[in-house]
């Protein structure tokens, strides 16, 4: 051994665990980010997450958290590596090596580690996403729509993250060599990370700021849009969440430095508390990232049970088993054909009712957006003819529901769901117009009716219905069908057959995206020459193009204007219909939790490494293994428990708040309450998993410290 590089290589071989940890962290972070981004940029996912939609924003938000988390723990692992290496560097410099000499060897080494681990992570990230996706397809659901197609452009993101990791490692490496004072370098591995004293009011004030930030962040958007009539620029509302972040940091600082036990258990927790205090800065930063990641992971995890429970309750509480409507110019099965088909499948149809509906124009406050110096603002403008709604006669409503409704001439009642939710539906109208003849009827809107299966319809008295319907062509008339069956649970095949029959017999004229409106269309054509929901324009404006061949896809079932609501079909196909959403959110949760576990494990092992001497000293002072274990547990528990508690309660409270303010009127509906209960079950399962990883880590830390 005659060359400096040989000494370096020998040291590398002797310290291979440190190198393995750094390489592993880089590899793991790039692997996770690549897998995530491959999934997010896959056309399969993008097709079901509309541009600018909430789901895509949520996924992006959690992705941002995952990137921050991975960046922090990679940086941390690098810092740890250079700190461990500092003694060796210090000895080389003390014995007369030049900085350039040491830096040259270090750069060569870092080049191999960073390029190798990042390349491996980037290369395997795609296959990992693919394998996970296939496992989901195999174990959960498999549809044609679930075929995962990757977009090579995703690798640009992966490369960008890899470039960050490599640049960060070289920066920290260069900085560690650049330290001018050799004495500092030699002694660096013994340096602690003290934090300033933290006043005890940090805890309660932190909780207050957290609650305030969460509330302000969520409500600021509502305030800007509904009160100021102004669409704030992207990111502005995020600023209102800042107090929540500061509050969270204060809570964690208080927890690490002061604890919540006051002085009662001062001597019992003395070692754990004081050691955590001296490594406070990094610990708190790690805890903050873990808390945010846990919150993000839960946000993803909650989607499935919330949607599933809510949907199942909605299916179960529907008053009618089979509901569909169709335009009068369509040749869709009616009672005779339905009964014949039912007979083929051994199904007994009961309570069949088919009643006519009119598509009439209604007045309302049009929402007009304007660009100005402040950005986009909006105002309302009353229009006598704004859009269309479907109207039933009072007798038709009675035929469908069995509920008699007394309405005088000029009186109408909108229909809302049984929970009284009016979300997306404004039942108060004052003028109804036959769009073809121009015949108008001033109306008074009475208290809405409640009937799930006829949500957003209107009911008027029979005479008004007849008068306003005069002169309407078939395109403006529809038929509403409702019927029940005996043993609904066993009629899936019949439901599927009827659904197929309806789709097969619908013409291309009604292959419309839900929300398509003939009056709005005319207004757009007159003003802008193009209507964004016309079938030929949907793709260009980011809406699903309704394709009868894709009738089993979630895009079709969630977007077709005339999608039937068959209880058994919706229930049995729920997982299939929502598969892409479900699996994407589960995947996101898996990635975030994996990052949390790696960060927590790394942090705890660092504590073991940093405090080895303290534990040796305690042993020399006569501390028993039980005492040492308790002290280690005090630290490991804090690293796991505090972020888990904070992240879980934070996101759960946020979710409850969202659910509360989401509906109109504000409040928690029974289905939302059931969803929140299901989320609690997820919390219990994940908490058990976190506990398992905590136990494992605790055992490894004890082993590393030779504590039996």
């Amino acid at each position: 051994m005659r060359h400096f590089s040989e000494v370096y290589a020998l040291m590398r071989r002797r310290n291979k665990k440190q190198y393995a940890l750094l390489s592993g962290c880089c590899f793991f972070s790039v692997l996770l980010i690549t897998a995530y981004i491959c999934m997010m940029r896959a056309p399969t996912i993008l097709n079901v997450l509309p541009e600018g939609g909430d789901s895509r924003k949520q996924i992006m938000m959690i992705f941002t958290l995952a990137v921050i988390g991975c960046a922090v723990f990679t940086t941390y692992a690098s810092g740890l590596f250079f700190r461990q290496k500092s003694r060796e560097t210090g000895v080389f410099l003390a014995l007369g090596a030049t900085r350039a000499q040491v830096r040259g060897e270090l750069y060569r080494e870092l080049g191999v580690i960073s390029l190798g681990s990042c390349a491996a992570g980037a290369l395997l990230g795609g296959p990992l996403a693919w394998v996970l996706w296939q496992v989901f397809r195999l174990c959960v659901v498999d549809t044609e729509e679930m075929r995962l197609v990757f977009n090579p452009a995703a690798y640009v993101w992966s490369l960008a993250f890899s470039a960050f990791v490599i640049a960060m490692m070289f920066f920290l490496g260069s900085r560690s060599v650049k330290r001018t004072n050799i004495i500092d370098i030699v002694q660096e591995s013994h340096k602690s990370e003290p934090i300033r004293d933290v006043p005890r009011w940090y805890g309660p004030v932190g909780i207050g700021l957290l609650a305030l930030g969460g509330f302000l962040g969520y409500m600021s958007s509502f305030f800007f849009i509904s009160v100021l009539h102004w669409y704030p620029p992207e990111g502005l509302t995020a600023v209102f969440y800042v107090p929540a972040l500061i509050g969270l940091y204060m809570i964690l600082l208080h927890t690490v430095v002061n604890g919540w036990n006051g002085k009662k258990k001062l001597y019992k927790d003395l070692i754990a508390t004081s050691q955590m205090r001296f490594q406070g800065r990094q610990t708190v930063r790690n805890m903050l990232v873990m808390t945010l990641l846990i919150a993000g992971a839960y946000f993803g995890s909650f989607f499935t049970p919330m949607l599933g429970t809510g949907s199942m309750i909605e299916y179960d509480t529907r008053p009618v088993d089979y509901v569909y409507n169709f335009r009068a110019d369509q040749d869709i099965p009616l009672e005779e054909e339905v009964r014949a088909l039912a007979e083929e499948y051994g199904v007994t149809v009961t309570d069949f009712a088919a009643v006519p509906m009119l598509r009439l124009a209604v007045d309302g406050q049009d929402h007009i957006e304007e660009e100005g110096p402040m950005g986009t603002t909006w105002r309302t403008e009353y229009k006598e003819v704004m859009s269309t709604e479907l109207f039933l006669s009072a007798s038709g409503y009675e035929a469908l529901t069995g509920e008699h409704v007394d309405l005088a001439g000029g009186e109408i009642r909108g229909v809302v769901d049984t929970e009284g939710s009016k979300l997306g539906f404004a039942p108060d109208k004052s003028l109804v117009t036959n769009y073809l003849t121009g015949e108008q009827l001033p109306v008074t809107s009475l208290e809405p009716l409640r009937y799930d299966s006829l949500f957003a319809r209107y009911v008027m008295n029979d005479a008004d219905f007849a008068a306003l319907g005069a002169g309407l062509t078939e395109e403006w008339r529809e038929t509403q069908v409702c019927f029940n069956v005996e043993n609904c649970e066993e009629t899936y095949d019949f439901a599927k057959a009827l659904f197929n029959e309806i789709v097969d017999r619908s013409t291309i004229d009604v292959a419309q995206f839900s929300g398509w409106d003939p009056v709005v269309r005319d207004q757009y054509l007159a003003e802008e020459g193009v209507y964004f929901l016309d079938r030929e324009n949907c793709a260009e404006y980011g809406f699903t193009v309704i394709d009868y061949a894709q009738r089993d896809s979630s895009a079709f079932r969630l977007s077709w204007h005339y999608m039937p609501a068959f209880r058994i079909l919706d229930r049995m196909d729920f997982v299939k219909t929502m598969a892409v959403f479900l699996i994407l959110f589960v995947f996101v949760a898996v990635v975030c939790f994996a990052a949390v576990f790696v960060i927590a494990y790394t942090r705890c092992m660092t504590i073991a490494l940093t405090n080895r001497k303290v534990y040796d000293d305690l042993r020399h002072l006569g501390a028993s293994n039980a005492y040492l274990r308790r002290s280690v547990r005090g630290q490991v528990k804090r690293v796991f428990l505090v972020p888990a508690l904070a992240g879980t309660s934070l996101i759960y409270a946020f979710y409850v708040m969202v659910m509360y303010f989401n509906g109109s009127p504000a409040g928690i509906t029974p289905s939302e309450a059931a969803g929140l209960l299901a989320d609690l079950a997820v919390v219990a399962a994940v908490s058990a998993l976190i506990y398992g990883v905590y136990r494992l880590t605790f055992a490894r830390v004890c082993k590393a410290l030779d504590i039996r």
């Binding site: 005659r2 000494v7 002797r14 003694r87 000895v91 014995l95 007369g96 030049t98």
Partner: protein, 247 residues
């Protein structure tokens, strides 16, 4: 060989500045074995770190031979540390991943001058300091005294003008201390080494030709051993320490 003139050094702690060296001047001649003693906080280690160029002095001059160390750039300083100075630290600072022999060769490897002759010198140093039997062992497998003798051998591998030793016996028992001091004496007599040692230990210092006693950042007294017996010289050192305590 080594000339230190009016050396000053202060540390800033928060807004307070502490002057640790308040104008220290001393000389070490070729082949001399000189110790610096003094109570904690007297500036011994700071003086050594300034001479080693590990920390910059505020003012004053440090000359090694004819070279003014403060004027040297970083690479030139590294070369001085590698070729003209040898270091022995209290904590040994051996690299755990290298064997005793590899540790001894390290300064030569860093300097890029390892030849058959260098390897032969490493083996010779092992013999001189009685560590040949452990030359293929790792630091974790040898005693504290053996570690320090390895460090002394390492300090000598590049034929330095001066060996700087910081509390070399501070972590050792009496037997190991004797062995290390013996190795310094051997270095001086057999290899004509010049040694500048900082120590608390009057026993270790009593082997030196001259002892400089620092107090509050200035040279308080210089004691020459001359033809005095070692035991007598140690008594003189202890008397000086007692006298310093009385003032």
């Amino acid at each position: 060989m080594l000339t230190v003139e009016n050396l000053r050094k202060s540390y800033q702690v928060g807004k307070t500045s502490y002057e640790v060296l308040k104008g220290v001047s001393l000389e070490v001649g070729k082949g001399e074995f000189v110790a610096v003693m003094g109570p904690s906080g007297s500036g011994k280690t700071t003086l050594l770190n300034c001479i080693s160029c590990y920390i910059p002095a505020d003012s004053g001059s440090i000359r090694l031979g004819k070279t003014e160390l403060a004027r040297l750039g970083e690479d030139a300083l590294a070369e001085v540390r590698n070729k003209q100075l040898g270091f022995v630290f209290q904590d040994f600072l051996l690299l755990d991943g290298l064997t005793v022999r590899q540790n001894i060769l390290l300064p030569a490897i860093i300097g890029g001058v390892v030849s058959d002759m260098t390897e032969a010198r490493a083996d010779q140093l092992c013999e001189v300091f009685g560590i040949s039997a452990i030359r293929d062992k790792y630091p974790a497998e040898i005693s504290g005294g053996e570690k320090q003798r390895t460090a002394v051998a390492r300090a000598l591998i590049n034929h330095p003008l001066l060996i700087l030793a910081d509390e070399p016996t501070g972590n050792l028992d009496s037997k190991s201390t004797r062995a290390v001091i013996r190795s310094f004496e051997q270095a001086k007599s057999a290899l004509e080494a010049t040694i500048f040692m900082v120590t608390h230990d009057s026993y270790a210092a009593s082997f030196c030709d001259r002892v400089v006693i620092l107090r509050d950042g200035v040279v308080w007294k210089v004691l020459e051993k001359g033809a005095t017996e070692r035991e007598t010289f140690q008594d003189q050192l202890l008397d000086a320490v007692r006298e310093m305590g009385r003032e």
